[in-house]
Symmetry: C2
């Protein structure tokens, strides 16, 4: 049922469009990816300002100055984490909707979207999107605008579903406001959900549908 067990791999941006050149370049991509993964984990746990580039370097098995070989600045690393996270989330969301089929009822499409979003927030290897959600203010204005566009596209996929439920009388609030509240309800689960709790992501999804549409 989970549309994304692990988020699908995406080619490292540094390699995009260039021909592969064997070992050296693949390693370079690996090191860059490793830095992003460790940065995401640490930014989530301790915040952007609470994490030093030395922490990140050590977690990736590097010396303190080495992250700056791969990223222009600490802020650029944060930006890369958010872009990569949004690109993956957008791709896996689209894949989940496609797998469901276009003629599925609105309630089922909402279930798929919510279940997928919980996976992105709470599933294994899910540090990138929580970092985007909570470390937003540490980007500069231009970076915020760029990430905002990716986030808007991701959330826009929910609107046809919310409008259909609204027309059918299953969603009473205005769809635009409902979207804001629903994303809030789901995103906030990052603050309280724990693996060792009794709720699975499927049960979480069912309860969310009950709350918003009155049925599961």
């Amino acid at each position: 049922m989970p549309p994304v067990a692990a988020l699908p791999a995406i080619p490292p941006p540094a390699r995009r469009g260039r021909p592969r050149k064997m070992e050296s370049e693949r390693d370079e991509g690996n090191r860059r990816q490793a830095l992003m993964a460790e940065a995401a984990r640490l930014f989530r746990a301790k915040g952007f300002d609470g994490t030093s580039t030395r922490d990140i370097a050590a977690a990736a098995g590097m010396q303190s100055g080495s992250p700056f070989y791969f990223f222009q600045s600490k802020q650029a690393l944060l930006h890369a984490v958010m872009q990569e996270g949004m690109a993956r989330a957008e791709a896996s969301q689209a894949a989940a909707l496609k797998a469901l089929g276009a003629r599925a009822p609105a309630q089922e499409r909402l279930r798929t979207l919510a279940r997928h979003h919980f996976e992105v927030l709470l599933g294994p290897g899910s540090d990138f999107i929580p970092v985007m959600l909570f470390e937003w203010r540490s980007l500069d204005a231009a970076q915020q605008q760029e990430v905002r566009a990716l986030k808007d596209a991701y959330e826009a996929a929910w609107m046809p579903v919310l409008r259909a439920l609204h027309r059918a009388g299953r969603l009473k609030a205005r769809p635009e406001v409902a979207r804001l509240f629903i994303f809030g309800a789901l995103n906030w689960s990052v603050q309280w959900f724990s693996d060792r709790g009794q709720l699975s992501l499927d049960e979480l999804t069912a309860q969310a549908l009950l709350l918003f549409t009155g049925q599961a």
Copy 2:
């Protein structure tokens, strides 16, 4: 309608239980309160780790070392902000429920609770609770436990209302899970609500009730 125009003043903790001693001590309370207010504003805008004690001192018109005359550490100042915020919010929430009367229907009690919570999150002078919500991790374990108790008491006041709505069939999700999702939906508004937007806090409240209970 807003039960709290400005959050009700609470005597500064340093003075509690002691007899008033005129100018000097009242000033001391004022300086302490000013530090907390400026700290809350800056912690909200830039985060705990992104705010220096020098920033806070300057905003309160002091020299860089002076905050440590009033607070043992930067972390103790954060803790004080959260405690003060929760004490005020708890008091104003209780006052709002009391003003409504005990025999009001569950839907009206939920409206009062939600409207009050929006005021605490988004109204004038509302920096203390957002700081508590988003800077949680910067407290040590003992401080977290203490603030957690205040937060639990605040949220517990919602449970009889949610259970009544659940029994009446107006709230379909399990009340405990509904509470988590509802607080998430409301709390997240801190991230997107803007004063110059078209929604008033009353309209926000009405849309939230529509989403969760199907009626406003």
